[in-house]
Symmetry: none
């Protein structure tokens, strides 16, 4: 009784079945492995792209590294918050340690602006054009995260909706800059490069679209979405969105840098077939 009072106060989930626990546990570990080793892969592959694209690759690696750090913390925190019961089949009841959603927001506060930095960096625009995009994208991204956090902390419908809407405004502005402002900056790129940049934007949109959906679960209500089922789905959704928006996105940034390096200097960055043909 006391426990359920305590949990209803904070909105924390009071208990997870062993199956629900395992699902979140494995998804968090999948995120650690994906993000940590994408960071390493990108660092190790830096020299496969021309020098002007290397900053984009290093920033992509740093983004995956920051996210991996936070997933290590989230994983350890999850184990402490929902310790094993008396038997392996028993429910994992919430301990006295809060499950801290703050880690995700701290992570996004750092990584989402950096994702836009890597996107602009890989385009290798003129200094002035890059600057023009970044002064619009980076503050809007930071604002989007900061405005979302107060809404995440509450389960009351009113404030959650208001902060959600406020957070959506900079998100829409970001989309506008990415789909309109950025398009103008791409004149002169080859069709292949333009197609890859277009894919990059759609992946960004698709993965970023998952976050507001997971955020809205408690608003949908019902036993499932505001209970343990919704918690599992939200943690899974956030984790998979992070893997796509950071690890997969980083790999695509790397591919785009490779394509451009090859177009500009096939002798050095070609795949070897061109070299053989030349020779």
């Amino acid at each position: 009784m006391m426990l359920s009072y305590a949990t209803s106060q904070s909105g924390a989930i009071s208990s997870l079945s062993s199956g629900q626990y395992s699902t979140v546990y494995n998804v968090l570990s999948l995120a650690i492995a994906s993000l940590l080793f994408t960071a390493l892969y990108l660092l190790l592959s830096q020299r496969q792209v021309a020098p002007r694209y290397r900053n984009a690759i290093v920033v992509s690696a740093i983004v995956c590294g920051i996210a991996a750090y936070h997933y290590f913390r989230i994983f350890a925190n999850f184990q402490e918050s929902y310790p094993a019961g008396a038997t392996i089949d028993a429910a994992h009841v919430l301990s006295n340690v809060e499950f801290n959603e703050g880690y995700r927001y701290v992570d996004w506060f750092l990584t989402v602006p950096l994702l836009l930095v890597e996107t602009v960096a890989v385009l290798a625009l003129s200094r002035a054009a890059s600057q023009r995009l970044l002064v619009r994208l980076v503050p809007a991204a930071a604002l989007m995260i900061v405005l979302g956090y107060p809404g995440e902390l509450t389960l009351e419908t009113g404030p959650r909706v208001i902060w959600g809407v406020l957070s959506t405004l900079p998100f829409l502005y970001l989309l506008y800059v990415l789909f309109v402002g950025l398009t103008k900056a791409l004149e002169g790129k080859s069709p292949q490069v333009r197609a890859q940049i277009s894919n990059l934007r759609w992946i960004l949109l698709a993965s970023w679209g998952v976050y507001p959906i997971a955020y809205a679960f408690p608003l949908i209500g019902g036993d499932f979405f505001s209970g343990a089922g919704g918690f599992v789905l939200r943690q899974t959704g956030y984790s998979i969105a992070d893997i796509v928006a950071k690890a997969l996105f980083g790999i695509l940034i790397y591919r785009l840098a490779r394509t451009q390096s090859r177009e500009e200097d096939p002798q050095v960055y070609g795949d070897g077939h061109d070299l053989q043909r030349v020779a």
Copy 2:
């Protein structure tokens, strides 16, 4: 009763609400992530600047690394000093483990002189001019930290004011050297470089200004500033000031090194557009 006697003796905060605890916890983790990954980014980007600027980048990375180490310690110490209560909503009561502000002073004792070393190093002055600045800046910085520590340990107004004033004297001397002595050393730099150095100094002044303000909270008095609220604000202020004065400052040092490298050797350190235009 006994607990409150013990805590009033040492001036330690006897209890934090779960919200206050989470705020400090998340800010400390933000500091770890910001400092650790800025250190990595700087190390990985070393080769993007001309050899004469690389020492400044390595020292900047070392400063962020030392600070990240101390934040790992502070984070673990904070968890031990204020363990979770019976439920996640319960207050975090001070345990038998002291929350050690000494970590911050040890950190500053090492990093603040090094921040001045990296600032002088990135200017790439003549050996004699660098030497002249460093023999004045480094001892003053160390003295400033050493004189502040006895004041941090006490909550008595008299000693806290006296040590605070003593610590301010070398701080004012530092500002004099940075804003007057250093300006003379900048003749011959391009307007863009001078503007960036000017920004650098203002960021140093703004972020270093936060430390004495946080230090003075217990002097302001009242329930808030000398209680748990003041503790949260002081920890948050110190942490954000460290992120700005070390991580953000390191990135600006890197940018300044890039600008100078590009001016001096556009063929190697230009962004590629210059190269295409040349070709």
